[in-house]
């Protein structure tokens, strides 16, 4: 973990309310486990807390980190208006990402993502590809026009889409897509990131899978394990886990979602 002023070198609008930022700096040389996140200081005095974003991809050769975010509130709206060239005080990489070391070339991984849970899964898929793992993606969006990174994922493996309104791919949410198309397929690893409903579906479906992982969100303050703002309860244990430092990635069946 380092704290660094990264330079915003590009910002692109991917959909109606989703943006991609390219940030340049030494942080791109830190070892990144996919699923780890950065905590960004929005340059506005009235916003005290940093904003956490999963790392969508790292390119150490170009000193670049990419983030993909949706504009939901004040902070992300401000970020989306920032001009190229500005310096963004960034803390990261933070937390524990998706375990992948156990996988061998030729093995099969399923990546399940929804909405703005998708960005960190892109770096995951890239790293799995580099390891020679065969990756299948099940990706959910609200509507067709909200889809981003379609080409990027397609280049990395099979992609099954679900949309809530049926405007693209399977008509329904991700849990229904899994039921319809993935019931008889086995994977050596399962990874998920997305809204609460998606995580509950995956957690339930793969609770006994030896290598199934979900990435959680939580309201954070310090972002690094010292303030206890972001806790989730461990399942079947009198224990609280910190999403920022024990997570954001947890094995299925481990935490109350």
């Amino acid at each position: 973990m380092i704290q660094e002023k990264l330079t915003l070198v590009a910002q692109e609008q991917l959909t109606d309310n989703v943006f991609e930022m390219v940030l340049k700096g030494q942080m791109a040389h830190e070892p990144v486990t996919p699923g780890q996140f950065v905590d960004v200081k929005v340059p506005d005095e009235s916003l005290l807390l940093r904003r956490p974003f999963g790392i969508a991809s790292v390119d150490p050769n170009r000193d670049e980190i990419r983030l993909v975010y949706r504009t939901v509130g004040k902070g992300t709206h401000l970020l989306s208006e920032l001009p190229v060239g500005i310096q963004l005080d960034t803390l990261g990489p933070l937390g524990h990402g998706f375990p992948t070391a156990f996988l061998k070339p030729g093995q099969h991984a399923l990546i399940i993502g929804g909405g703005t849970g998708i960005p960190p899964l892109y770096e995951l898929s890239r790293q799995l590809n580099q390891m020679g793992v065969v990756v299948t993606h099940a990706i959910g969006f609200g509507r067709r026009d909200q889809i981003f990174y379609a080409d990027e994922f397609r280049a990395l493996g099979e992609v099954a889409y679900a949309t809530d309104d049926g405007s693209y791919g399977f008509h329904g949410h991700i849990g229904m897509l899994l039921d319809a198309q993935f019931n008889d397929r086995q994977f050596d690893a399962v990874y998920a990131c997305g809204p609460r409903g998606l995580l509950m579906a995956v957690d339930n479906r793969y609770r006994d899978h030896p290598h199934a992982y979900i990435s959680m969100e939580s309201r954070m303050a310090c972002g690094m394990g010292e303030c206890a703002a972001c806790v989730v309860a461990a399942k079947r244990k009198e224990q609280l886990l910190k999403v920022c430092s024990d997570g954001p990635v947890f094995a299925t069946g481990k935490v109350e979602i």
Partner: protein
């Protein structure tokens, strides 16, 4: 003598800046970012006798130039703090004065924690947290009733091996009444202010956003209240004051010192900038030059 040095009961500080309780844990992760020896001292997270699970989530909400928190004193309990947390700090930063923040639901609990925690080799002082707004029992109710506050202070002083700073609540009609009461009961100093009780409503659910309904307001938003209350207490007491509330720059620190504080704790600013403390320490000499301040000590007319 360094320009930044300050001496308070139990605390020889090489500079007046320390992280505030609850915003810095026991410093373990912050130590990955900078050498904690640069701090004047460290105020660690509240310790209670038994481990506490704290409040339901969400525990933090952002507000204009501030934040609401309702952590609810989650901590691993006195045993773990004595055997793991404090030794970790002592092993790595033996010269760093630790101020132990003590909380409880009953006087007995406070007394038990003070008795034992004050024997830790690196605990230089106790900050008696009679002002936590985020717990149903104890906490703030001790800090809003002068009689209870005085009795608790007396009992803790009787067992503590180190000086006791009483952390005052701003959620009172007249803070000087409480300050006088705990001074008469033997407090060695004050620490102020804790958070103001606040609430945020989630427009989607029309219910309070925080799991605990209310939370404590901190950050730049409350600095004017902190300055006012430090000034008030300085006018009725010569005891040392560890000032806090919205400090995020060297100028903010100087403002609280001029109001009457003798040292400064930095709380939620650590969230915006995890290196807030060293950044403030580094910026102090230049800011002092600008305002013709020779030494931090010289601002403390009371000592």
């Amino acid at each position: 003598m360094s320009r930044l040095e300050v001496d308070l009961p139990g605390l020889h500080l090489k500079n007046p800046i320390m992280p505030a309780s609850g915003c810095f844990g026991f410093g373990q992760h912050y130590a990955e970012l900078y050498d904690l020896n640069r701090l004047g001292a460290i105020i660690v997270k509240a310790a209670t006798l038994e481990p506490r699970k704290g409040n339901p989530t969400p525990r933090v909400a952002e507000t204009a130039s501030g934040a609401l928190n309702a952590i609810g004193l989650q901590n691993p309990g006195l045993d773990a703090i004595m055997t793991e947390k404090l030794p970790w700090l002592n092993d790595r930063f033996p010269e760093l004065p630790v101020i132990a923040n003590v909380a409880g639901s009953t006087e007995d609990e406070y007394v038990a924690v003070c008795r034992r925690i004050s024997t830790a080799p690196n605990v230089a002082a106790i900050e008696l947290n009679i002002s936590c707004p985020n717990v149903a029992h104890g906490g703030m109710q001790f800090g809003t009733d002068p009689k209870m506050a005085a009795e608790l202070t007396r009992a803790c002083k009787a067992v503590s091996q180190v000086p006791v700073y009483v952390k005052l609540s701003p959620n009172v009609t007249d803070i000087t009444v409480i300050a006088k009461a705990v001074e008469a009961a033997g407090a060695d100093g004050f620490s102020m202010i804790n958070t103001l009780v606040g609430m945020q409503i989630d427009l989607k659910t029309r219910k309070p956003f925080l799991g605990n309904r209310t939370g404590g307001l901190s950050g730049a938003a409350i600095k004017p209240v902190a300055v006012r209350m430090i000034d008030q207490v300085r006018h009725i007491s010569a005891l040392p004051i560890i000032g806090m509330g919205g400090v995020s720059s060297a100028e903010d620190a100087l403002e609280l010192l001029m109001a009457g504080a003798n040292a400064i704790a930095v709380g939620s600013a650590n969230f915006g900038d995890p290196q807030a403390c060293p950044h403030i320490i580094d910026a102090l000499p230049k800011a002092m030059d600008q305002y013709h301040i020779e030494t931090i000590k010289s601002l403390s007319t009371n000592l």
